[in-house]
Amino acid sequence: MSADVQAVPVSAQNLHKSFKRGTGEIVKALDDVSFAAKAGTLTALVGPDGAGKTTLLRLIAGLMVPDQGELEVVGVKVASDPQAVQDRIGYMPQKFGLYEDLSVQENLDLYADLHGVTSEQRQEVYPRLFEMTQLGRFRERLAGKLSGGMKQKLGLACTLVRAPELLLLDEPTVGVDPLSRRELWEIVLKLVREDGLTVVVSTSYLDEAELCDHAVVMHAGKVLSQGTPDEITAEARDRVFIVATPDGMPARSLQARLFQQKGVIDAVPEAGQVRVVLEAPDGTEALAIDGHETAPRPAKPRFEDGFMVLFATVAERAERSGMELDRPVSGNSADVVVEVDDLVRSFGDFTAVDHISFKVRRGEIYGLLGPNGAGKSTTFRMLCGLLPASHGRLQVAGADLRTSRAEARQKLGYVAQKFSLYGQLSVDENLDFFASAYGLRGRRKAERIAWAKRQFELDQFASLPSIQLPGGFKQRLAMGAALLHEPDILFLDEATSGADPMARREFWGRITALSEQGVTVIVTTHFMEEAEYCDRIIILDAGQNLAEGTPAEIRAHARPEGGEEATMEDAFIAIVEQARSARAQPKAAA
């Protein structure tokens, strides 16, 4: 093999790939895609759901054959000899297929054997992998019993049992908490920088793309732009500003209003203020609210800002009107609607939730944050009455949903982590079912279904089986179904996991609007910046309450002395690590 070929482990030219949907409709997953990954570099594929990232990675891995175009991987034409490529590369699919009933060690051994790693080589590689992934303590644990982050690390370890010539990672950090995410990226970066490995990674976390050498921005099967992260970031040059919040206004309310302004591409709450990206560098007049100047300060653009600018050129500007409830929730905003007192839940000798207490008032957005396995979901399931508590008291809208009459559940809406409406049923049929389930009938039912379809722009898909909805619309349908009966309280369990930036903005726009109209919202999330939308948050780890307060109070935990305002993610990591080392110390001493 010539050095020339070695220098470009992936070379794709004019790739095309189409699929037929169940309905017979042809979907162009890849439409004339070209890119190259140079040896020893990190290439990121970024783009919203359905952009074609996974298809592209599967083509490179030889798992699919392109309809058209040239694709050479490690110097081999993939289509003609996929096995030759598969012998030499490493690939970690989006959902890495660990054998959940095998232990960590057994999974690793399996892949070592499949890659022909000799026992001498193993003695050298294993300690390195265990050190890198910190899985050494869990060798004997079944893979199914690992947390999400550890599973991903084990998946990565399995693909790295022998040094591949090229490593493909498909959304390796979806559903992984910030701590594990940071660790995973440290491993990948070390491989690229120190061992000269070539890596192609797809991601919807844009801060991750910032770390790469080359970014390919994709949209609807096409390459929108590619270049170094700096080049992408430069798209937003002179257009990024920070707007301070007027007194007494939550950042998310300002964000919601700014986001609706013409001339504004993007707005996100950040450290109690709002970061905006403008359509034109000199368009600051768009930031005036009710005729008042808001004194925007220019800010340094980030990759995400550049990405949003690129997207503003192709994606139609969606309605950003938030949403209107038929009637706002009545009641006093001082009412405590959710109360958790000394809650404990144990499974055998394992305590998932360890004496947690908190209160949520009407109209608040309350966030449950924590690493994988911290007890968020368990708390959530107890609140919704899906799991009995071992000890303690919980009240939701004045009742314990586990034991109360069914009518008490009438007051809450629930959106699960995973899309969990009936896939074979159409949008209309799902809405009709949930409306009836909540006791709506006759004209009222028809009105509410029409409302949901209007608010979530679902009319166009009314008769499509919901499993075939594009990702973002599934989310909308789930929200629509949960709001049909105008609940006082909305539970959202990692509702934005795996969603792209656009979908997440839209989602939070609606949540903000709901809370302004009196709906109490309780959320769990892995995206730390989303905590900025909350009124108050609680950080859990190992089932314990580590910190509770407003976003500003939480951020204050991690503010470096005299330094700049810390991001929520830094604060989160600082709090968790501090608590963990405090817990480790007494043990070490004993």
Binding site: C384, L386, A406, Y414, L421, Y422, Q424, F433, A437
Partner: protein
């Protein structure tokens, strides 16, 4: 009350939509039962209509020839070989060329004339002893009646006692008349039990069950909403099989449809109860699948479908008391063939009610209280 009813109706509608929406699943609910009914209706028979036999005639008299032509003319027996010596018997039986070898003794005709009861020997291939026994029974009947008639024709005194036989409800003793009505219960149980066992497990696996549990549905409402559609599917399948039985196999229906459908509804409630019970325990679809399979096997084998319950050891007979299929088969036979009324069927119906009354509430309780 009205709210509760409307919720249940919504769930029933949703379940039916989920089952019937996809044309493939629609076909798979109707196609296999009808095909199974047709194939098994023909295949599941203990009646013989083509028995191959070899003949060893040591007598070669006019009487022996008359007996042979009686056998050959019966339409059931096909002669595949005519043997010369005894040692040829083994080869015909061993390689399954002949199911029977019939040996006529040397002094057959003389014996008949002297009323000395000559013995005809029938050797059967006992590898399937049930078939062999049936075939031997056929031969005995033909030979005995031939003997009596031959003696009468030759002016000899006949046997002192004649036997006349008659069979109630199934005059020509066709197994098919027994099997096909029994398939009504067997096939519908297979389909409805699997359908319900999978349904909750599938909702659990897809996460929709949690979604259902946070709505105002009560567990008992979910139970009814899951049970009714499956029972409706079962009734449709039962109707299809009954149609095949009457229109295709032409088995006359002696009883009342009202009574039969009452029995079927109770039976389906009991099997759906068992299905939901499995479903409420199983964590995954694979477990639900294997769980229902492991239960279906004994239910089918110990129902009286393939062999009479009276032949089973006492312990296994006790087990059949909790087997809804046992009662379903008994009810269908009594209504379909015997025209039985409610009074006669009361014990079976009460047993089915009891099974449903135990399994359904347990399943409903498990919906909410299962850990995990």
């Amino acid at each position: 009350m009205l709210d509760s009813l409307l919720r249940i109706l919504a769930l029933i509608r949703k379940e039916l939509l989920a089952i019937l929406k996809d044309p493939r699943s629609r076909i798979s609910l109707i196609g296999p039962p009808v095909i199974q009914c047709l194939v098994f209706g023909y295949a599941a028979t203990y009646d013989l209509n083509n028995v191959s036999y070899a003949l060893l005639d040591h007598d070669r008299s006019s009487a022996s020839r008359a007996l042979i032509s009686r056998l050959d003319g019966s339409g059931v027996f096909t002669r595949v070989g005519t043997l010369e010596v005894e040692r040829q018997i083994a080869e015909f039986i061993d390689d399954q060329r002949a199911l029977l070898v019939i040996t006529i003794p040397q002094d057959f005709e003389r014996g008949l004339q002297a009323s000395a009861t000559p013995a005809v020997q029938v050797i059967a291939d006992g590898r399937n002893s049930n078939t062999a026994g049936t075939a031997q029974g056929y031969v005995s009947q033909i030979v005995t009646s031939f003997g009596a008639e031959w003696q009468a024709a030759h002016g000899l005194p006949g046997p002192p006692v004649q036997i006349t036989t008659r069979a109630w409800y199934n005059p020509s003793l066709e197994t098919r008349w027994y099997m096909i009505p029994a398939l009504v219960g067997t096939i519908t149980m297979m389909m409805t039990m699997m359908l319900t066992a999978m349904s909750v497990a599938r909702e659990r696996e897809e996460g929709t069950f949690d979604q259902l549990l946070v709505t105002p549905f009560r567990p008992s409402e979910i139970m009814v909403g899951k049970a009714v559609p499956a029972m409706m599917v079962g009734l449709i399948q039962a109707t299809m099989i009954l149609l095949v039985a009457q229109l295709w196999f032409r088995i006359p229906f002696a009883g009342s449809y009202l009574i039969l459908y009452c029995g079927l509804v109770l039976f389906l409630a009991a099997s759906v109860g068992i299905g939901l019970f499995i479903s409420s325990i199983a964590g995954t679809m694979q477990q639900a699948m294997i769980g229902s399979f492991v239960l279906l096997m004994p239910f089918m084998l110990l129902s009286g479908l393939t062999s009479p319950i009276g032949n089973m050891p006492q312990v296994l007979q006790y087990f059949t008391f909790i087997n809804p299929l046992r009662y379903a088969i008994s009810i269908t036979h009594q209504v379909y063939l015997e025209g039985a009324g409610f009074g006669q069927l009361l014990p079976e119906m009460l047993a089915l009610v009891a099974i449903a009354a135990v399994t359904l509430p347990i399943a409903a309780w498990m919906f909410r209280n299962r850990l995990g």
